[in-house]
Symmetry: none
Subunit: 402 residues, 2 copies
């Protein structure tokens, strides 16, 4: 199997063209009743529809048919990285999600406070879902733990959740979870699954030993379990593989972290879509590629709120004229996965894609929605190829072979 980026490195061509990737998180949906329309189809989206008439539509498969991706693989695919090749551990994603700037030597751990009884058996895997204020204070205490030769960082996430980062050269990141996934038993020992991770397992064990001491009077949060112990994947940057100076305009930390992982400059826009558009306008001349992330089509889908997802889709559509006024050479509107309100969760359904450029072959589609996308000129394709299409339409790829 060819590596996409071996190709793009070889074929990439300098250009002053500009690409906007507008990601409406969880964009794909489902009708509530057979024969009905999806959230995107019911939404009034005159601006998307105008783009659809000039561009091409299609449906992307984030990973493989039937696979519902998390935010990590979903975005990696959109960014042009094979989500089956680059594995982002849960610990890494959690660290990215709190804007922790993970280095190549860092091992990240998702930690859960838990309750253990006098015999060391877990009685509550979430420590009674302690309040965030309590979790935050406990993390400050744990952050003082010292382990010889290792920098230790403990950062609070929310309620009973935390991130631990161990920083030292030569630490592997392949260790089992210590969370036994049930109560009535003791946490598992951290065990290395490869030679390179033996030292890390010892560090984890030492941390747990000290944490038990630090937390001994803090019941119900008198211990913690570790999950998703991992290092960040060794992933090439946008600059290197595409020759793109890329900017991320995303509000939520996880998406900012994912963008940082591929070498995008993560900009400080405000929290609203208006703020994001203002940011886009202000940096337009300084970058070639703009990743704009919009969260609310996913969160409303997760809530199962069909009407609210429709409304939030319409909000996003209303922002489009500020993008098109900048005359990007390529504007892509899509999602990282589907989040149908009917399912209240990420799903495996193919994701609507709209690509607008001067070089599109007319496909007869006149509105942006799943049914139209099914007849669109892009067909159904793996999300990881979307970046190559965007680069091609932006005139940023030489031809392959003579």
């Amino acid at each position: 199997m060819v590596d996409i980026h071996d190709l793009t490195r070889k074929l990439r061509r300098a250009s002053d063209s500009k690409i906007v990737l507008l990601v409406s998180d969880g964009l794909g949906g489902l009708p509530l009743e057979p024969g009905g329309k999806t959230e995107l189809e019911i939404a009034s989206t005159p601006n998307f529809d105008a783009l659809a008439r000039r561009g091409v539509l299609g449906l992307s498969t984030p990973v493989l048919p039937g696979i519902a991706p998390g935010s990590g693989p979903g975005h990696l695919g959109l960014f042009g990285y094979d989500p089956l090749k680059y594995d982002i551990g849960r610990g890494v994603l959690e660290a990215l999600g709190i804007d922790f700037d993970l280095g190549p030597d860092d091992v990240a751990v998702r930690a859960n406070f838990c309750t253990v009884d006098a015999d060391g058996r877990i009685t509550d895997r979430r420590a009674g879902r302690i309040a965030s204020e309590i979790g935050s204070k406990l993390c400050e205490k744990l952050d003082t733990i010292e382990i010889s030769g290792v920098d230790v960082f403990v950062r609070h996430v929310k309620e009973y959740r935390a991130v631990i980062v161990f920083r030292a050269a030569g630490l592997g990141g392949n260790i089992n979870d210590t969370d036994p996934q049930r109560t009535g038993v003791a946490p598992l020992d951290p065990v290395a699954r490869d030679e390179a991770s033996r030292a890390t397992a010892k560090v984890c064990g030492e941390f747990i030993r000290q944490a038990a001491e630090v937390l001994k009077d803090d019941a119900p949060a008198n211990l913690l379990t570790m999950r998703g112990i991992a290092k960040r994947p060794d992933i090439p940057t946008y600059e290197e593989v595409y020759g793109l100076r890329a900017a991320a305009i995303a509000v939520y930390p996880m998406y900012r972290g994912l963008a940082r992982l591929v070498g995008m400059d993560v900009l400080d826009a405000g929290a609203t879509l208006d703020d994001q558009m203002a940011c886009l306008e202000s940096v337009w001349d300084r970058y070639d590629f703009f990743f704009v992330h919009y969260k609310y089509t996913d969160s409303t889908g997760e809530d199962g709120n069909f009407d609210e997802k429709v409304a939030r889709t319409e909000d996003l559509d209303a922002a489009v004229p500020r993008i098109t006024a900048l005359h990007p050479d390529v504007l892509v509107v899509t999602g990282d996965h589907s989040t149908p309100a009917k399912l209240k969760s990420h799903s495996w359904h193919p994701v609507p894609v709209l690509l607008s450029a001067e070089t599109c072959r007319f496909d007869g589609c006149d509105s942006f929605g799943e049914s139209q996308c099914l007849t669109g000129g892009l067909g159904q394709f793996e999300a990881k190829y979307l970046m190559m299409l965007a680069l091609a339409h932006a005139g940023r790829l030489e031809k392959y072979g003579a």
Copy 2:
């Protein structure tokens, strides 16, 4: 990743069926305006349309989404060879393009005459685009260069372009270009990029040393640069992988060379489509497979001449009755890539495919054009699978597994 030919070798079955692959180079196009029609859609093609009604349509991706292929990878894909697996260097393609019969020990080089000043710095990378008569004479002089243990061939291509072939056992073909791609600097030294190519780099260096002597009074063509130094790929033949006796009826040398690379018999037809049809008729009984190549849908596209591409498409359509009169079991009409007149170049857009056989499942298409192909029964697929479809429809593949 399965190798297609491991499958076809195992499954191929003897038959007296006949397959015609009619390649209209650069066939795919683009409308000039959003909502408009492509060259193929505007062309009046009653014969293609009749085939479309009886056959199936589809769109092929020559290499990968977004990748515009050169003629080499474009044709390899149509011939059923993974264009990412078999890499054809520029020197090889250039040698094929002048009907030079490259052997497995040959290293081919694309050479450009250039002008150097007294200090050895390039002042013109194309030697003032010298006339072909001059380039031809200089090549005759260079062809007398002798290098110990190596057969040296220098052949003129056109104007300032030539091909050099070094023939000797054990020469690797992985050497950098000596063309620095700019003026004001000396040509680069030939440097081996692997151990097996060290001897070749020395041969190249010795050739350049002697060439400088031979050409010293021939300014503006007083030196040459080397590009695309390569050996032909080790590629299995049509006979071996498909069991097909294959004939190529192509006018232009490059396509003749590509056909020779996969073991087709390259026939001497005349230069017109009528000549090609007469050739097809005359050898009909002697082969199983016929590759007929038509250049002008590409060259008119490269010229940006939309109307002329339409006219040349209609010319090709008019030749179809002479093919169908021979009653091929399978007739495929397609291109090796798209060459939209709007872009004046090869492009990445999917390529129209028409496959006509008695075994087609009706797909409701009634004319041959990109929009209809988008709804066709073949869907969108990688070009390398086209040959398997042709073999299947020709009754030339056993079933796979019991």
